[in-house]
């Protein structure tokens, strides 16, 4: 798990430091593949989840590349969200949460979830179409 943490930290630093939105989106894809690989290492029976998360982030990063290519202009000043940085320090008490025990993973999806998630995706697509094409 340590090499994956270091890879994730380096990819986040690349996202922060790089000046190009397209390179940042590509780094996001590799970060998604890293997280999916970490899931696979933690529970080897979640091989379907590896494919699922990887596909999600490849699609997300491709969409972001298109958006970034469509809007290449950047202004010099940063978005002022200093409080968000301070709030991220609020995640530190999570280190006190007891560690994960090696319990058996349930590697099957509840079939009730399928119509619910389909309805959620349909709703978000309808809202997205309304927002972008009114």
């Amino acid at each position: 798990m340590w090499p994956l943490s270091i890879i994730a930290l380096l990819l986040i630093l690349v996202i922060i430091r790089v000046r190009d939105n397209i390179l940042a989106a590509i780094s996001l894809t590799f970060l998604g593949v890293t997280v999916a690989g970490a899931v696979w290492l933690l529970y080897p029976e979640f091989a379907t989840a590896f494919i699922l998360i990887t596909l999600v982030y490849v699609v997300a990063a491709l969409t972001l590349v298109i958006v970034a290519a469509a809007s290449l202009s950047e202004n010099g000043n940063t978005v002022e969200m200093r409080r968000v940085t301070l709030a991220s320090l609020g995640a530190l008490p999570f280190l006190l949460v007891p560690d994960v025990q090696g319990k058996a993973a349930t590697a099957s999806v509840d079939p009730v979830l399928l119509p619910l998630t389909a309805v959620l995706l349909l709703f978000s697509f309808i809202v997205a179409a309304r927002v972008s094409h009114d």
């Binding site: 798990m1 340590w2 943490s5 994730a8 930290l9 986040i12 996202i15 922060i16 939105n21 940042a24 989106a25 996001l28 970060l31 970490a38 933690l42 529970y43 979640f46 379907t48 989840a49 998360i53 999600v56 982030y57 997300a60 969409t63 972001l64 958006v67 469509a70 809007s71 202009s73 950047e74 000043n77 940063t78 978005v79 969200m81 968000v84 940085t85 709030a87 991220s88 320090l89 995640a91 530190l92 999570f94 280190l95 949460v97 560690d99 994960v100 993973a105 349930t106 099957s108 999806v109 509840d110 979830l113 998630t117 959620l120 995706l121 978000s124 809202v127 179409a129 927002v131 972008s132």
Partner: protein, 78 residues
Amino acid sequence: MTELIFLLILLAGGMAAVAVANSLVRVIIAAEVAIMAGIWGAALSGDLSLLAVAAVVGVAETVLMVAAVYRLAREGYV
């Protein structure tokens, strides 16, 4: 312990990337990093159903944020 450190790297790293972002596309990319922390947290529970819900919610919010950025780009804010 390393699982929680991985979670903290994703969460705090995403928020730090939001804080230093200089365009709205970069804010969305950083929010995706934080969403990945949520997917990893769901994976820590060892339940594939919870992981599937987290991944689907990640897709839904990505669709909504990208649609919002298209709208903002049309109105000249990006």
